[in-house]
Amino acid sequence: MGKVSRAAWLYIAAVVVAAVALIASAQFGAQGARWWVELGVLQLLFLICDSTPTPLASRQSAWSPSSSATLAAVVLLGPAGAAMVGAISVFSLRRPLIVAERLFNGAMYAVSGYAAGRMFVALNGGVGRPLPHVFPVIIWPFAAAAAVHVITNHGLLWGALRLTRKDSGLRDRSRLESSLTLLLASDLGYAVLGLLIAALWTVVGAFAAVLVLVPLFVARWAMGQFAEQQRAYAATMEALCQAVETKDFYTRGHSERVSRGSGMIAREIGMRPDRADAISYAGMLHDVGKLGVPTKVLQKTGALTEEEYAAIQLHPMRGLEIVREIGFLDEALTGIMHHHERIDGKGYPMGLAADEIPEFARVIAVADAFDSMTSNRSYRQARGIDEAVKELRKGSGSQFDPTLVEAFIAALEREGWKLPEPAAAPLDHQTVTAQDHDDPTAPLRVVESL
């Protein structure tokens, strides 16, 4: 939220005024003498949940079941109580929100809590601790209240985003749509949890909040462990790939850059996050099999004999051999195996053509060739990005998948490309590639057999 327009300020002010008016006009007393204990505990529950979201499927989606505290308040305390529980999000500890954001969040949750509470009361849902005899009838007013809560909440939020973020283009919208199912599923989860808290309250009072929080905190702990392991995993893989690359002076950092390039293409064409992760790993590992190629073949300057050429052609299979036992998506394995196939069917190891080539392999091929062209080689200087793009376009349709080439160029324009450090002259004992098998502008020369 850099610059906020006037319309946005007006919108935020309107929501805040509405929330304050709703809470001020509310009446308490019908909920029993100790309603303030319930209110306090539910507000605390809201704050705890709101401040500690559990990341779930991917980086963008986190599960913070704070709404379930509001929905529990709908049953236990009615509209005014729900509004006051929601309003507490003004004090959220989640991140350094600016004051306007805090105010808006509090007002938004207060208004949607109030609306849900009104719906619940209108459908004859009895406010207060739900006694056993109200089940299962109470489910219907509660479901309606939950629906109202979701709609009001997302509606108000959408309005705010609409007014404050002008540049939210196509990509954001498609991302939003793809996470819509996830959003609905988590909303259903919040609702279920809210009713559960209210029902447990009848038996064990505020202890209900503790009982529900324990599994959620354990889930959060496990997700934290997961994220830590994932970081460690990526770092370890990168270190090992660098070790593999130390064999060759000029190809340092190649794996990492191909991984990055493949990830860029994957995001550009809207791949699912887990597939995008997998293709990054595949890009990282695509040339591991080069270790199986004798160094003297990689270093050879002149034309290759057929045997030597065959040895080079074998490296995708060697790579597959190494990584086969890793529990990746199978797609990552096919990506490594086929990353030297060509659209026209003249590639290796199997000579697949067009759509026969797995998508992962087509993606890696583009990033692979691009990085090879923009890096220094012993026999030539690095090409500029523009020149390399031109070469990619030239190979588009024969060597590369045209849509992926265009996607890569689009991603390049937006995200840019970090060129490798211009390699200093290699030291004497370092081995260098005399011909790069990845370089589309300088194909490997093979001795013509007579």
Binding site: H133, L200, P215, A219, Y233, L240, H429
Partner: protein
């Protein structure tokens, strides 16, 4: 390979240790007694509904098993469901009033056993392991809780004061988890040759977060059933479902991590630096020796990573060492390889302890204070042993190699490590590998 399978299965059945047989016998007897008893007493139709609902929940939970780090398997939802059934006080009838839950301990066991068995059937059909031991262990833990709690439901205070009931439930749930952990540790100690104390601590370290979630969910189910009845059973496990999802991802990335390091450690073999299978054999040997010496699971994981990658420094060598036998090259070169390897691993930034183990793998056990870490001593011994013996399982060759290593225990190798190594080597069956 496939032709040998029946024979192998037979031998594994024969090799089944007495501890596991005892557990299975206990669980089997409990099940038979429980089902026989439950079949003879009259149960009202409402109670039958409750039993069936919990049976289905337990079966579903058994179907949705969860792999935990270290090759463990848990069924959180099944455990929570069975424990909740054991802790049930009242059941809200739908439609109708709230009635006391009249469930005997044996009935709980019968329902849990039948539910688990049904839930295990799809695993069997899919050719996965049935996991009988895990099921038996869960059943025994549930039985312990049921046998203690069911008689308590006759006490007026427990039925009327929720806080008293909740306290008793908490204590019993902790007790049930302990029973499960002790059984699990006994089995693992038997299977892997670990020490029981170490195995129990490992078990508790891995299990406690999940156990806490399972325990809380069991209480949620038990209490919510009082108000909402059994129709909402699936709803009551919603928080636990979130937990299970998170754990699944965690366990998944951990195993991928291990697989990746295992796979990438083989690059030295593909590159012709090291004899084929060397890293894997050294890691298996090193972990077995570490376990023999009473190392805990996190330390063993570091040891396994270090052993897998101990030769990674050779990638920086210009020419592969003949046969990859680092024991045959000069000490200076060995140290250089170790340093290079440690630098590679340290670059990851998260494996500093592993890097340290790799860096010190060539230091002699004596001569400097405080000397290399235990893990490094183990890798040094295991590496030397494998360089001398290779993939061969010939006992004479192994004995000769051990003799040679033993001669060097005054300076080079750690005497305790060599003794543990000979224990492990003696246990290796010649037919394996």
């Amino acid at each position: 390979m496939t032709a040998q399978q029946p024979a192998e299965r037979w031998s594994s059945w024969q090799a089944m240790d007495s501890g596991r047989l005892l557990l299975l016998a206990a669980a089997g007897m409990l099940t038979v007694a429980a089902i026989a008893h439950t079949a003879t007493v009259h149960i009202g139709p409402a109670a039958v509904h409750v039993a069936v609902a919990f049976g289905i929940l337990i079966a579903l939970g058994e179907l949705l098993r969860l792999a935990l780090p270290g090759g463990r398997e848990a069924a959180p939802i099944a455990t929570a469901g069975a424990m909740a059934y054991a802790l049930l006080l009242y059941v809200k009838q739908l439609p109708g009033p709230q009635l006391p839950a009249q469930v005997s301990a044996l009935q709980v066991i019968a329902v849990a056993a039948i539910g688990m068995t049904i839930g295990a059937l799809p695993h069997m059909a899919a050719g996965r392991s049935v996991g009988v031991t895990g099921m038996a262990s869960r059943l025994v833990a549930v039985s312990c809780v049921a046998f203690i709690f069911r008689p308590l439901t006759g006490i007026h205070l427990i039925v009327t004061q929720w806080w008293l009931a909740a306290s008793v439930m908490t204590v019993l749930l902790v007790f049930g988890c302990l029973v499960d952990a002790v059984i699990g540790a006994l089995i693992r100690a038997d299977d892997l040759g670990a020490r029981f104390g170490v195995a129990l601590l490992d078990e508790m370290r891995v299990q406690w977060p999940l156990a806490a979630a399972v325990g809380a969910s069991a209480m949620i189910i038990a209490f919510a059933t009082e108000v909402m009845g059994i129709t909402g059973l699936a709803v009551f496990v919603a928080p636990l479902l979130v937990t299970q999802l998170a754990f699944r991802r965690y366990a998944g990335i951990r195993s991928t991590y291990l697989q990746t390091v295992r796979a990438l450690a083989r690059v030295t073999e593909v590159g012709g630096y090291v004899e084929s299978g060397h890293s894997h054999r050294v890691s298996v040997l090193a972990v077995a020796v570490g376990r023999e010496l009473g190392m805990s699971e996190p330390d063993l994981l570091d040891l396994e990573y270090a052993a897998l990658m101990h030769d990674i420094g050779q990638l920086s060598l210009r020419d592969p060492i003949p046969g990859g036998a680092t024991v045959l090259v000069s000490r200076g070169d060995q140290q250089r390889i170790a340093e290079l390897g440690a630098d590679v691993i340290a670059k990851a930034g998260v494996l500093d302890r592993v890097a340290e183990l790799v860096r010190c793998q060539n230091l002699p056990a004596r001569g400097s204070e405080p000397g290399p870490p235990v893990g490094s001593r183990i890798i040094r011994a295991a590496n030397a042993f494998d360089d001398l013996v290779g993939g061969s399982t010939d006992r004479d060759r192994g004995t000769a190699a051990l003799e040679r290593l033993r001669l060097d225990t005054s300076m080079e190798y750690d005497a305790a490590v060599i003794e543990a190594l000979s224990e492990v080597a003696a246990r290796r069956r010649p037919s394996r590998l």
